[in-house]
Amino acid sequence: MVKMEKNLKQLVSELGLKCTAGEELLNRVPKGAYVSDLLSDVMGKAQENMLWITSQAHRNIIAVASLKELSAIIVVNGRDVEDDVLESAKTEGVVLLSSEMSSFETAGKLYCYLYEINTR
């Protein structure tokens, strides 16, 4: 696979995401991604510095991302993230991104972007 050296800031602008927490941490360089709405699945399978694509938006995603040292969480379907979750993300140094797309579209676009597959 192509080596990835794009940081979160580039990714946010390229995929049309919105950063809702952790703006100052967007220089992180993600290493792949994992898609799951099951927290134990992410605990077991995701690797450090990965992006995590999920439709879960409650507070527990922050602890998972922090413990696993994930690069960022992408919450899909434009789901609202409550203020206490955003606060918790800021405290824990977790980057929260919001995608208006579904998990499928977000993951598809991200895959093409990270691995430099030209779909145009």
Partner: protein, 136 residues
């Protein structure tokens, strides 16, 4: 070094607090990042099991130069069939808990995979005791 944390059953908003704290503490010692990650996974899963299933519980951490041993003792429904509970995919979590993305039946298998020794015992109707050890 010993630490003790109280875990409130059903309080998902505080879920992961104890394991997150322990992780930040052990990070200050000369422990390999891989061991730290394994400990964090095992502790988080165990903590969330108490939150999801028990009324209340406590987590006792014993950190030594050679290993970390953590004991979770809870008051709750206990586990009827421990072998069954250890199977991947088996869970007795409520629908509400599952909707939050818990209860996938991966918690106990994840704990087992990420520690060196695991002792699980339970008295149905009373509670559960889980002991986890990771050797450095």
């Amino acid at each position: 070094m010993k630490m003790q944390y109280f875990i409130q059953g059903g309080d998902f908003s505080a879920g992961g607090r104890a394991s997150t704290e322990v992780k930040s503490i052990i990070k200050q010692f000369n422990i390999s990042p891989d061991k730290i990650r394994r400990i964090a996974i095992a502790l988080y899963e165990a903590e969330m099991n108490v939150v999801a299933h028990a009324f209340k519980g406590k987590m006792d951490v014993d950190l030594r130069p050679e290993y970390i041993r953590v004991v979770f003792l809870d008051e709750g429904p206990g586990i009827e069939d421990i072998d069954k509970a250890m199977e991947e995919g088996f869970s007795t979590a409520s629908d509400e808990v599952r909707q939050m993305g818990f209860g996938a039946g991966m918690g106990l298998p994840n704990i087992k995979k990420n520690c060196d020794e695991m002792l699980l015992s339970s008295i149905p109707g009373k509670g559960t005791r889980l002991e986890i050890k990771v050797i450095f």
